[in-house]
Assembly symmetry: C2
Homo-oligomer: 282 residues x 2
C-alpha cells in the first residue's frame, strides 16, 4: 500500500514528487519516463522563475537530473482507471493494479475530445502510451492517432515494432516513413469492436486493427476516475487541491487555466502538502 500514487509526469506531477520525497513519503510516480511531451515541446519559456528563457529540452533535462538526484524513479505505465475502494484507491494500468492511500491526478489537459469508443476500449486495445504498451503489439496491425509533432517519436517507435501501422496525424507537417506505414488524413469517426478493438472507422473507410494508440498529451480525468467532479473538462478543486473525493487530489493543467508551468508546479507542491495533511489525520 503506497502513501500516494502520482499520475502524470508533467511539471505538476514532478513538483508533487519532489515534495513527497522531501517529506519521506512512500509513493509511486506513474507516467511517461520521458516526461510529459508538452515539456520538451515548449519553444521558450520566459516566465518560469529561476530559469531565464529556458527551452523545453533544457527544462526536461533539468527535471530528469533533479528526479534522479533525489532518487525518484518513474513507473512507466498508462493508467486506465482509478477506483475509490472505501478508504484507499485502486489504480489500474492494463492488467497491473496498485493500492494507495491517496492519489494525485496530474494528467494535464487535452484539447481534443475523445473519439467515440476510445474510453470504452481503454485497456482493451486502446492505449495512450507507446513506451508503456508498445511491446504488446509487436508484429500486430495498429492504428496510431497522433495529436502533435512532439509525439511523432513515439509513433516511430511503434512503427519499428508493428507489422503494419496506419498513421493518423491531427496536425500539419507530419512525417513518418517506413515500408509498413500508411498515412491517413482526417479524424477517426469511431473505434469499433466487441471484447477488444477490432477496427477504426473513418469517413471514407474502415481500417481493421489489433490496437489503437491515441498519442495525446493528456487523458480526460473524468474518464479515469468514476464519481469525480469535473466542470468544462477540468477537475473541480479547492485552494488545497482537494477534489470531491477524500484522499484524491488534482494539480496542474487538469484543474484549469492558466495552463502555465509555474501554476502547475505550485499546485503540485500544494497537493503534496495536502496529501501529508490527509495522511496525518487518517
Amino acid at each position: 500500500m503506497f502513501d500516494c500514487i502520482i499520475i502524470g509526469t508533467g511539471p505538476a506531477g514532478i513538483s508533487a514528487a519532489l515534495t513527497l520525497k522531501s517529506r519521506g513519503k512512500n509513493f509511486m510516480l506513474i507516467g511517461s519516463a520521458g516526461l510529459s511531451a508538452k515539456i520538451s515541446a515548449a519553444e521558450q519559456i520566459n516566465n518560469y522563475p529561476g530559469l531565464p528563457a529556458v527551452e523545453g529540452g533544457a527544462l526536461k533535462a533539468a527535471f530528469m537530473e533533479q528526479l534522479a538526484g533525489m532518487g525518484i524513479s518513474i513507473t512507466q505505465a498508462s493508467v486506465t482507471g482509478v477506483y475509490d475502494m472505501g478508504g484507499y484507491y485502486g489504480v489500474l494500468s492494463g492488467s497491473d493494479s496498485y493500492e494507495s492511500k491517496t492519489v494525485i491526478l496530474a494528467v494535464g489537459v487535452e484539447a481534443v475530445k475523445p473519439v467515440p469508443g476510445e474510453l470504452e476500449f481503454l485497456g482493451r486495445g486502446v492505449s495512450y502510451c507507446a513506451t508503456c504498451d508498445g511491446l504488446l503489439y509487436r508484429g500486430k496491425n495498429i492504428v496510431v492517432v497522433c495529436t502533435s509533432k512532439a509525439m511523432e517519436e513515439e509513433a516511430e517507435y511503434l512503427a519499428s515494432l508493428a507489422s503494419s501501422l496506419t498513421f493518423v496525424p491531427l496536425y500539419k507537417g507530419a512525417s513518418l516513413s517506413g515500408g509498413n506505414v500508411t498515412v491517413i488524413t482526417g479524424m477517426p469517426v469511431a473505434i469499433r469492436g466487441s471484447q477488444r478493438v477490432e477496427s477504426v472507422e473513418f469517413r471514407d473507410r474502415v481500417v481493421p486493427c489489433d490496437g489503437v494508440f491515441m498519442l495525446k498529451s493528456a487523458i480526460a480525468p473524468s474518464a479515469l476516475v468514476p464519481g469525480l467532479n469535473a466542470e468544462g473538462g477540468h477537475v473541480v478543486v479547492d485552494r488545497s487541491c482537494r477534489t470531491n473525493l477524500g484522499g484524491l487530489f488534482a494539480a496542474g493543467d487538469c484543474t484549469g487555466r492558466p495552463y502555465q508551468y509555474a501554476k502547475a508546479v505550485g499546485e503540485g507542491n500544494v497537493a503534496a502538502h495536502s496529501v501529508c495533511d490527509y495522511l496525518a489525520k487518517v
Copy 2:
C-alpha cells in the same frame, strides 16, 4: 496610471512580474532591490522544480539575472498604504504616491506581531526598509528592531548613517559592532510619539529616537490595505488569487500555507493572469 503595481520582491512578486512583462503590461514592482531577505536566507531548497538542491544565494542570483534579462527593474520603496480610490488604487510610500488600475499583494508573511504604535507611525518615523528610507536618518538617532540574522546587513548600513543606533535583535547570535551602536535585548513594548515617533519603550527603559526601523521579512497585509478580508493573518483569496476587493489580488505566503517557493511562484503566475483578465473587462 499603471496597469498593475506588484508589492513585494519574493518569489510570488517576481513570478507575477515575469508574467505581466510577457503579457506586455505597464507595471511597477515595488520592494527591496536586493529581493526578499527570505530568498537568500534559505540554506538549501530540494523541491523547487528545475533547480536541484539550490541554495538561497544561487536562487537570488538566478532571479536577479532573469529580471534584468527581461528588462524589469525594482522600485526600491517601502509601501505604507494601499487605498481603493473607486476604480483604481492609490499606493503610498512615504511622501510618494502612485496610481494603478490593479494591485498584487505579494508581501509574504511575518511571524512577529506588530508592536503597539508600529502601524500608527508607519511612514511617520517607522520604516520597514533600510535601503529605502535610510538616507532620511543620516546623522539622526534611531532604533533598529531586527527579526533575523539575514537582515543584519541592513542594520549595518543604517549604523553607517546614523548618529546613534540602538540595536534590538529578536534572535540569538546577533553581532553588530560600531562606536555608535548600543545593543538591547528584549521585545519593545510600544512605540511612542505625537505627530511622529519620539521614543521606543522597553520593559526597563525608554529610548528617545527620531525613527524606528522594523527589519522584518513581511508586513501584515491588513495593515496595508483598509477593508481587505483577512483570516488568521492571511489574505483571503479564491483560486484565481482574487481578494474581496475588485482589482486587488494576493499571492504567495501572505495567502496562507504551505509557505513554499513553488506555491508562491504558482500563485504569482495565477494572480498576473487574473490581472490581465480583469484589465480586459474594465
